[in-house]
């Protein structure tokens, strides 16, 4: 009885993971050789401000938002891409214009922007990032911090060419 239960569980687990892999495109032959694009996260675009300016630093700083931007398919790093970052911080609400700032990726496709400490808002300590630019589909991310005491957060983009 126990073995039949466990084999049924194994079968269910295998079928479940196959379904997940299939749904995410990891089993699709056409994409097997490439890196899949990052999908926008739920709530990612909330309180987005189109065209927020590129800044040296958002407010007084003390917290680091970083990540990478690559191209879907071959995974090549993308230089000079504009990433907008915003969050509820010790210096302002998500909706405040001063809580928003943008930065550009370097030659390695990496970006890094200093901002005020993110604090829990609407139930979770989280940040928002947006890719805005020509040539690729727009992506909105909403990473959640493991602990509200963290002083950094990362988010990586894989962009789909249009």
């Amino acid at each position: 009885m126990a073995s039949s239960l466990s084999s049924r569980r194994t079968l269910l687990a295998a079928a479940g993971s196959a379904a997940v892999l299939g749904a995410t495109g990891l089993l699709a032959p056409a994409r097997a050789q490439g890196i899949a694009p990052t999908r926008s996260m739920r709530g990612g675009s909330n309180n987005y401000r189109p065209g927020a300016p590129v800044v040296e630093r958002i407010g007084g700083g003390g917290f680091w938002m970083s990540g990478t931007v690559r191209r879907a398919g071959d995974g090549a790093p993308l230089k000079g891409q504009r990433i907008q970052i915003w969050a509820h911080t010790t210096e302002g609400h998500e909706r405040d214009p001063k809580s928003h700032g943008a930065t550009l990726t370097d030659a390695n496709g990496a970006f890094r922007l200093e901002m005020p400490q993110i604090v829990p808002a609407f139930g979770q300590a989280h940040g928002h990032l947006a890719f805005e630019g020509d040539g690729f589909e727009t992506v909105f991310l909403r990473p959640v911090m493991n602990s509200p005491r963290d002083t950094s957060l990362t988010a990586d983009f894989v962009l789909q060419p249009v």
């Binding site: 739920r42 709530g43 309180n47 509820h88 010790t90 909706r95 604090v119 829990p120 139930g123 300590a125």
Partner: protein, 203 residues
């Protein structure tokens, strides 16, 4: 002259409700929030406190408020609970409209949003049934109200528990546990399960 026991019960209830509010008032998060957001948060805590008081009133457990009087107060605190929930949602809406619209449309990124919206509708459902109770049969009204409040308390507690907000860990745990316990106790004392459609089979 009230008995020592009734003084202790009222004092205990005052502490269980007062302490979470006091602890939340010390939260460092308040410093980084606008007044409307702070008010919305406290309206949520008060909603949880009222969800603890409601079953105590319905069951006539509070000294000086026997079932008949208790239920009259229960109707008033029920209306206050609906107001507190609407202030909570309204205040959050003003703070960040897209987040609340996502929650109400059941497309928010976090489970606590779904639980909170279900709790809100369950509270509104319980209140609507109470307002229309003379138009439905006593059996249906009692069963419907009981189901609504069960859903409201369970999802409301889940919502509060999962949120990283101003409430303190211990005081939140105590008020949530007592709200569930009081609801279970009154449903059991009023033998609500007898109202279920297939109850006769199990009798």
């Amino acid at each position: 002259m009230p008995s020592q026991r009734s003084i202790l019960i009222w004092l205990g209830l005052g502490l269980v409700i007062g302490l979470p509010i006091f602890v939340a008032a010390q939260s460092p998060l308040l410093e980084w929030r606008a007044p409307i957001y702070i008010a919305a948060g406290f309206a949520g805590i008060i909603s949880m406190a009222l969800m603890l008081i409601q079953p105590l009133l319905a069951g006539g457990y509070l000294p000086g408020l026997p079932p008949r009087t208790g239920r009259r107060v229960h109707a008033v605190t029920g209306a206050a609970l609906v107001c507190a929930v609407l202030l909570h949602v309204g205040g959050l809406w003003i703070t960040s409209p897209p987040d609340v619209i996502d929650a109400l449309a059941f497309r928010a990124p976090a489970a606590f949003s779904y639980l909170g919206v279900i709790a809100m509708w369950a509270v509104i459902g319980a209140a609507c049934l109470a307002a229309l109770r003379r138009k439905v049969s006593p059996k249906r009204w009692r069963l419907g109200h009981s189901i609504c409040v069960t859903v409201a308390v369970l999802t409301g507690v889940g919502h509060a528990w999962l949120i990283d907000g101003t409430m303190g860990f211990m005081t939140k745990a105590v008020i949530c546990a007592l709200a569930v316990a009081a609801t279970v106790k009154v449903l059991s004392d009023l033998r609500v399960w007898r109202l279920l459609p297939n109850a006769r089979k199990h009798r």
